[in-house]
């Protein structure tokens, strides 16, 4: 087990190193000089040169890469070109919007998907199953930002239950903050719930065909009892995998949703920074997201291995 964990840890480190190189390289290749962008069309060449010097853009690419990576290792994410404030502080502020939003959406998506998936599997082929599947088909097909506009026009503009935009901050209290995140979380959650419900259903149906289900029925359990006690538990493994992947997706999906709902989260930060060529911010935020995803995957791997000894030898 220890050796397995160590092997995974080495591959995690390698993944992070490769990711950092790729992120840095891609951002180097994108055309657009941050200094020229900040100074606009009337700037004189000597002004742009002075700003490049001030921003530390005159050093060679490998030197800047090393400075960035070693800085991150010590918790120093650099200073934003445009905002002129430490990137670490900016990220810390924004995380308190994006992570709660992703978690909120994940909870909503689970709460919708599990009952829907189980219900559909239990009523396979019948009207209930068909309607749930039709609804999920629609949920998968509808883009979340479009769905966001629809719920804003209903719940904010028509009914006036929610503010159309904005986030009051956690200082305003837990419930006002949660209220402001509700519509965005629903918009993020529903398409994910649709996917999750479909996975839940098909995974359950696979289980229902397994031998142990026949055994369970043979020992006298009712269809429903067998479903709940044996099938659901076993069907959870692929579902949890999807759920882990979805957390990453929800964090990234926030980029658009945060624009539509005007939330000061990481997604909005990335969006604005890319437009402003605030490269150091883009690099660091993307690296943080990659780190999150890799660490979540690592944790999931370790958890599987802890539960299922067969996996330890295989990898």
């Amino acid at each position: 087990m220890i050796r397995f964990a160590l092997r995974r840890l080495i591959s995690l480190t390698l993944s992070l190193i490769v990711a950092s190189i790729v992120i840095f390289a891609v951002i180097e290749i994108i055309p657009g000089d941050p200094a020229a962008f900040m100074l606009g069309v009337n700037a004189r060449p000597d002004t742009v040169a002075a700003l490049r010097e001030e921003l530390g853009l005159t050093a060679s690419a490998p030197a800047r890469y090393l400075a960035w990576v070693t800085g991150m290792l010590t918790g120093d994410f650099g200073t934003s070109y445009t905002y002129k404030t430490p990137v670490a502080g900016m990220i810390a502020d924004r995380i308190w919007v994006s992570f709660p939003l992703a978690i909120y959406a994940l909870i909503l998506s689970t709460l919708i998907a599990f009952p829907a998936g189980i219900y559909a599997a239990a009523r396979r082929g019948r009207l209930g199953d068909v309607s749930v599947m039709a609804a999920t088909q629609l949920g998968v097909a509808v883009p979340n930002f479009w769905f966001a506009m629809i719920i804003v026009s209903i719940f904010s503009l028509k009914l006036g239950w929610f503010n159309a935009i904005g986030f009051p901050g956690w200082d305003a209290g837990f419930w006002p903050a949660i209220k402001a995140l509700t519509l965005p979380a629903i918009a993020l959650a529903l398409p994910q719930a649709a996917i999750l419900a479909r996975v839940m259903r098909s995974s359950l149906l696979d289980m229902l065909n397994e031998d142990f289900m026949r055994t369970a029925r043979a020992k006298g359990l009712s269809r429903r009892q067998a479903l709940w006690r044996h099938a659901v538990r076993n069907a959870m493994i692929p579902v949890l995998t999807i759920l882990g992947l979805q957390f990453a997706f929800l964090l990234a999906g926030g980029i658009i949703i945060e624009q539509v709902f005007y939330l000061p989260g990481l997604g909005r930060l990335i969006f604005q920074s890319i437009q402003a060529r605030d490269l150091i911010v883009v690099e660091s935020v993307v690296m943080l997201l990659v780190f999150t995803v890799i660490v979540v995957n690592f944790a999931v791997d370790i958890a599987y291995a802890a539960v299922d000894p067969r996996l330890r030898g295989r990898r």
Partner: protein, 490 residues
């Protein structure tokens, strides 16, 4: 009723009215400022939030574009027009309590023109050879030659007066002399400011103001409709304006900006080095179709690179009427009877992206095929503006009075005709208004007759505000959401 009771009654009514009136405002603009230093970046959003509200210069722009005294209440200009002596207002303090005096003016101007300056409009200060403190309220600025634009230049947001005491943190904590004190910036969300109780000028009616930054057209629509914001300056979705006009809760102000929107041609590259080709392109353009199709009718046609609301504007539209027939003849004359193919690079704003599609079809009608590429601003700056790697592009030049860019042969459309440079040199040396008007007319006519670029329209700006709000600027002579004169009437 005696006079006294009438007075008391009206006073009561007045105070009652005042008690009921709202004294805070939430204003939305499209883009968030990247930082809060108007002297250190070109982003218009910085000026939109801070100009006149937090920072002031020696002179300032009024809503109608005129230049009036700011922190300098008067000035004397020497015989030859090279020495400006500014008399500063007394009792002006920065928001941190320090006094604004001649030393601060010298510091601000010297900083902007220094060798390592990162001022985006360093050119405004180019002619300054010396800044001398005469006494705490008098400062003398010496120029290398007469400059008819100098007082105008000093009104720009890039020329505001800053203090050495607070310069280190200006990007995140701006300290100015204006009628509003900066309170807080929650990045990605809002900027808050409140009334400066020790302001030297007339106290503003508003006690506090919040700026929000919404670029998504749908979110902007929802925010205004749900009354989450009180005013949206530069509303991003012109297609929604009729709906707001019809709604008694809102008022729509349709104003002009200083943005000459042009179809820029690469004059340094074949075939656009041929004036006949440029004329053909200009005649192929149907401005009304572009304004109606891309801008939902918002925008004033222009025939030269000059703001039509400026008193010195010359109407030259007749030089480039929509005449596809003549355009084809001109192309044949220029040696392109079958037309040619060129690139059309479009930056993100809708005037370019939507307008570009329409222009492409208008050009196709006279035989010019365009390969459209959509580019981000940073990419536009590098490829088009920097490397001049383009045939055609659409861009709005939003700096006020920027016809001088045509005198720079290295500017991205690569014109710089020596005759035009001569006009500009003479203009810079001319201070009497009539002489300046004549020269500005010459300059406008020259670039129009040379068909340097396709002149499309003056970019409009729409402000959607709640019905009870008054005092917002209609036009944008410089990017500014000046709140000093804004008040609620109910």
């Amino acid at each position: 009723m005696t006079i006294r009771t009438t007075l008391t009654a009206s006073l009561l009514a007045l105070t009652a009215g005042m008690a009921a009136a709202q004294t805070d405002i939430t204003v939305a603009i499209q883009l968030e400022p990247p930082n809060l230093d108007p002297t250190g970046g070109a982003a218009q959003a910085i000026d939109s939030v801070l100009y006149s509200n937090v920072f002031e210069g020696l002179t300032r722009f009024m809503a109608d574009g005129s230049v009036v005294p700011g922190l300098a209440h008067s000035w004397d200009i020497s015989e030859g027009g090279t020495v400006y002596t500014f008399n500063l207002r007394e009792g002006v303090t920065f928001h941190d309590g320090t006094t604004m005096d001649a030393e601060d003016v010298k510091f601000s101007l010297d900083r902007a023109r220094a060798e390592d300056s990162t001022n985006a409009q360093k050119g405004l200060f180019a002619g300054i050879t010396d800044v001398t403190v005469v006494d705490p309220l008098t400062v003398q600025v010496t120029l290398d030659g007469p400059n008819g634009m100098f007082l105008f230049n000093m009104a720009w947001g890039d020329a505001v007066i800053v203090a050495p005491e607070s310069i280190e943190t200006i990007a995140s904590n701006p300290i100015g002399t204006g009628a509003f004190v900066f309170d807080e910036w929650v990045q990605g969300d809002r900027i808050e400011m409140s009334r400066n109780e020790s302001y030297w000028g007339d106290a503003p009616a508003l006690e506090s103001a919040t700026f929000k930054f919404i670029s998504d057209p749908t979110a902007a629509f929802a925010a205004v409709m749900a009354e989450d914001v009180d005013a949206f300056v530069g509303f991003p979705a012109p297609e929604n304006l009729p709906q707001f006009e019809a709604d008694p809760r809102f008022q729509v102000l349709s104003g002009n900006t200083e943005g000459e929107t042009i179809l820029a041609m690469n004059n340094g590259m074949a075939p656009f080095d041929n004036v006949l080709v440029r004329q053909a392109v200009s005649l192929a353009i149907d401005r009304d179709a572009i304004i109606n199709g891309a801008m939902f009718g918002q925008g004033t046609p222009i025939g030269t690179h000059f703001a039509p609301h400026n008193p010195d504007y010359l109407d030259l539209l007749e030089l480039s009427p929509h005449d596809p027939e003549r355009a084809r003849e001109l192309l044949a004359e220029a040696g392109f009877p079958d037309g040619f193919t060129t690139t059309l690079k479009l930056p993100p704003p809708s005037y370019a992206r939507r307008g570009g599609e329409i222009i492409a079809s208008q050009l196709r009608a006279v035989g010019i095929e365009t390969e459209i590429t959509n580019v981000e601003w940073a990419q536009w700056l590098e490829e088009v503006f920097g490397n001049k790697d383009y045939g055609l592009t659409i861009v709005s030049h939003t700096e006020p009075m920027d016809i001088g860019i045509y005198a720079n042969p290295d500017y991205y459309f690569q014109y710089g005709d020596p005759a035009f440079v001569a006009i500009m040199d003479e203009l810079n040396a001319t201070t009497d208004p009539e002489g300046r008007t004549a020269l500005l007319h010459d300059a406008q006519r020259m670039i129009s007759e040379n068909y340097v670029n396709g002149y499309l329209f003056e970019l409009a700006i729409a402000t959607v505000a709640k019905a009870g709000l008054s005092g917002l600027w209609l036009n944008q002579p410089t990017a500014s959401v000046d709140l000093t004169g804004v008040s609620w009437s109910n």
